[in-house]
Each structure stands twice: as C-alpha cells, then as structure tokens.
C-alpha cells in the first residue's frame, strides 16, 4: 500500500478517531465530510471507546493474497459502544467466545506486511472483553 494512503488513516487505525455530526450527533467511523442522516457538514472529532459487541462473524479459510500466511483467521462485524460499526479480525478467543453478542475490545496489532520489503501495516483487531 502506498505510504501516503496508509499514513492518512493513522488517526483512525491507531487512535479510533471518529467524527460526531455537530447538528444531529450521529457518530461516523471513519469520519466523512457530509452527514448521511441530516446533511450537515460540520463535525467534532472524538475518539471512540474501544469496546463493542459482535453482530456477526466468520472464519476465513481462503485468504486474499496479503493474508496468505495468517489463514485461518476469524473476522467479525462489531458494533462499537459509541454506535459506529466496524469489520475487524477477531483474535485470542476460545471456541465459546466466537458468537453473536460476544463483548469485545479493540487492540493495536500488526495487520499484514506489504510485500517483501514493504511497510508493515498496523491497525486494530478485536479480542474478547
């Protein structure tokens, strides 16, 4: 991944920076420039709390090229306690913790290495809370 493209997202991937619509209060992660609920264009930056709940999940057994060495790995849709939803890898779980409704916490982890001499991409993964 080109360095600028990764760098631009560090505030989201490292610090969970979201945007809250200054008019209607809807949370957006990642931030965007216009609110899809009320059309307002001003936002207040705010970091999300790192806790949430699994809404659905899977175990990826046939990975895309950059994740070849990691499969099988679990992925989940998580609804954060502040409202936004994310897709993240789910790690460090025991069998009974791979379920809808499981409480999770986001942790800073290595996501993948970009080619043989490329940048290491970091971001968040979910772990059981």
């Amino acid at each position: 991944m080109p360095t600028a493209r990764a760098w631009r997202e560090y505030p989201r991937r490292y610090r969970y920076e979201a945007a809250v619509c200054a008019k209607c209060g809807k949370w957006f992660f990642p931030p965007r420039l216009v609110c899809d609920a009320c059309g307002h264009r001003e936002f207040e930056p705010r970091a999300m709390k790192r806790t949430g709940t699994i809404l659905t999940h899977t175990v990826i057994r046939v990975p895309p090229a950059p994740f070849k060495d990691q499969a099988p790995f679990a992925v989940a849709v998580v609804e954060m306690d502040d409202g936004p939803r994310i897709t993240a890898q789910y790690v460090d779980w025991r069998a009974e913790q791979l379920k809808v409704g499981q409480k999770v916490r986001l942790e800073f982890r290595k996501i993948y290495t970009d080619g043989h001499a490329g940048t290491i991409q970091y971001g968040y993964k979910a772990v059981p809370a």
Binding site: T58, V62, V77, V78
Partner: protein
C-alpha cells in the same frame, strides 16, 4: 421516453476456464452471437460491463478495446463498472440511451477474464468491490462477507446450512440442463456439506466459481423491434432500475436484508406495473447460496426468514411457483463478474421466447433479473415481457 426492446442475445458456446481465448476474443464471440441473433447490419453505440479488466488482465479502457476487435470503430464505446453488477448497469445504460432517443441500435454486453491470475490474486481483485480501506484492510474476503450474512440470517431466523445447500443443489440441477454452464453437474446436499469450508459456514459448493465468459444483447426502440428482429420474438424491457447502499456491509441498517435490491425491486414493480406473482421466471444474483435466499426475501418471493424452507419445498425449482435461476445461476453456469448481469438477460429472453429446451418454464411471458455488486452496495433489476 421511448419503449425499448431486446431483439438479439448471445453468449459464448461454453463458460469456464477458456485458456485458449483472450478477454477480447471471449467478448467478440458473444457479441457476434448477439448481433447475428438480432440480424442487424450495424450498431450505433455499445456498452461493456467489466468489473476489473485492470486487476484480472492488466487491461483498462475496455470499451475501446472491444469496439476495435468487434470491428465497430468509430461507434461510441464505454465500459460500465459497478462491481458484479457491471453487466446489469451496462444494460441499463443502453436502455437509457435508446429510451432517450439518442441512439436506435445499441449493443449492451459484459465480459470478464478471471483465470489469467492465481486464486489468491482473484480473491484480492474481487475483494476490491468491498470497502477497500475499512473491510478488505482487515483481510475479509467476499466469501467472508457473505458468510457473515449467513451467520446473521441463521442467528435471526434459524436458517440452516442444509437450506443454504438446497440452493446450490437446485441451481446445479438446472445448470445440468444448460450446455453453456461451467459446472453442469448435479450435486446433493451431502456433496455441499462435505466440501471444503471457504468461510464458515460457507463451503466451496456454496460459492460461485471463477469464470471466463461474456454475454451480449441488442437493444432497439420497441416500435421498430418486430420489423428489425430476424430470429425470435422481441422482448420488451418493462422496467430498468438501480439502487445503491453503503459500501461497507457492516454499515447496513439490517445485516439480514439487501436493501438496494428491496429498493430497486419496488421501483421496478412500479415501473412495469407488475406484481411478483405476475412474473413467471427469475434470474437472481446467487454469488453465494445465502445471497439467493436474501434476494428472494428482497424481491418479495418469500416472507423474511422463510426463504430457506421455501427452497426446500421446491418453490423456486422449474415447475415451482417462482422458478429461480433456470440457467443454473452464477453457481453452476459460472460468474464472470462483469458478464453476469447480461447473461441473466440472455437466459430470461430465451425463456420468454420458448427457446430454453429441457429447462423451459411453461408459458413464460414475463421475467425478472436481479444483479448486484459487492455485498449489495449496488443492485440492478430488469423486468422483461415477450412482445
């Protein structure tokens, strides 16, 4: 707005791993078949649906490549991209060009050459139809996203893996009667459940394959269709609609519903002035077995959460109340992503003309196609009626 008709359709002799054919050859074979089937001596304009010529073959600017090798320069030629709904969107672009009066005879088509890259590269290319920064970044694949739909649907409605498998069994039974299908073999529920897991709970036989293929159709004003059509009854396009939804699956208000299809279908039923029970045959986007179940619910062919039992009861088989994917669907016929939406039109036109041989739906007069991109961020619906 003028009424628009389809006067010719064409595909490749066979879809699958077409090692001897380049992307342009695959396209030209299908396009020539459509031109010959219509019996027209020229076209005024053309649209080519193609999801990722760049990632699959290194070739962008696909519209011009195809116009050149079809011997149609200097007609306007534009590539249309809406991920796996590229074909449906190309049909819709051509529909609007004819309806508007800008052109009379328009070729609408789709092509994808997917087997020139390795499996993990193809998986990567397909995953670019999801949210690249906020879904694919975490390693989730397309089967993974649809697997999460399946888990959500199973959790909410009690849908079972046997019901998912029943979709694949039904579509392979239809595809076994389609000489163009990539995998024209019958399978059983046990074959599906004993096949390798791709993304839990989806097995490889819940997934559509990697396919090389193309499809094409010739559109003209409905008022000229009977005079122009040389081989088979013209088919009128009663509705052509499209809707979008959030690019990321996780942002959908209901994780068990494909809202873009709900919206596009509601608009199409209104535009065509038809209800679901007035439609005789359906081609829908079964990229994964769970997709066909959720699309049934979105099209109003089943109550929410009841699609699985409806498939097991035979509602969607040929001879059932709402036959779905008589062609074999994406599952058995194959899924060259940019071509799929056009191939659905080819199947429905042949059904409405009575040309479908052993898989013919009796007295089919009206048909519907539903084509979607990504996890349902784009949906295109067409309703067709034989003239």
């Amino acid at each position: 707005m003028r009424d628009v008709a389809i006067i010719g359709v064409g595909m490749n002799k066979k879809w699958g791993e077409l090692w001897e054919m380049s992307m342009r050859d695959i396209f030209v074979e299908a396009a020539l078949n459509a031109i010959d089937n219509a019996g027209v001596d020229h076209i005024d304009s053309m649209y080519v649906g193609c999801m990722s010529g760049g990632l699959f073959t290194g070739q962008e600017h696909v519209g011009a490549v195809m116009a050149d090798y079809l011997g149609q320069c200097p007609v306007p030629a534009t590539r249309v991209e809406s991920a796996c709904a590229s074909g449906g969107a190309a049909v819709r672009a051509g529909f609007m060009e004819v309806a508007s009066g800008m052109s009379d005879i328009v070729l609408v088509s789709g092509v994808e050459k997917m087997n020139d890259v390795s499996g993990d590269e193809a998986t990567y290319a397909l995953a670019t139809a999801s949210d690249q920064e906020w879904e694919a970044f975490s390693g989730v694949t397309f089967p993974g996203l649809y697997a999460m739909m399946a888990v959500a649907h199973m959790h909410k409605y009690g849908t079972t893996i046997e019901q998912l498998a029943a979709v694949a069994v039904k579509n392979h039974a239809n595809g076994a009667m389609n000489p163009r299908a990539q995998y024209p073999m019958k399978i059983t529920v046990d074959t599906v459940l004993n096949s390798v897991l791709v993304a839990d709970p989806l097995h490889i036989l819940d997934c559509s394959p990697i396919t090389d293929g193309a499809a094409a159709a010739i559109l003209c004003p409905a008022g000229r269709a009977k005079q122009l059509a040389k081989n088979g009854a013209p088919v009128k396009i009663l509705a052509s609609t499209q809707a979008s939804d959030t690019i990321a699956y996780h942002s959908r208000s209901d994780l068990t519903s494909i809202e873009s299809t709900v919206r596009a279908a509601a608009a199409a039923y209104k535009m065509a002035n038809k209800k679901p029970d007035q439609i005789d045959t359906f081609e829908v986007h079964d990229c994964f077995t769970i997709a066909e179940l959720m699309v049934m619910e979105a099209l109003g062919l089943s109550e929410k959460g009841k699609s699985g039992p409806a498939v097991q009861a035979g509602q969607t088989a040929i001879g059932g109340r709402t036959p779905i994917n008589t062609s074999g669907g994406l599952k058995s016929k194959g899924h060259p992503v940019g071509a799929t939406g056009v191939a659905q039109i080819v199947e429905v036109v042949e059904q409405l003309r009575g040309d479908s041989g052993p898989r013919q739906v009796k007295n089919a007069k009206v048909g519907l196609t539903q084509n979607m991109g990504g996890t349902g961020a784009s949906s295109v619906v067409h309703i067709l009626e034989v003239m």
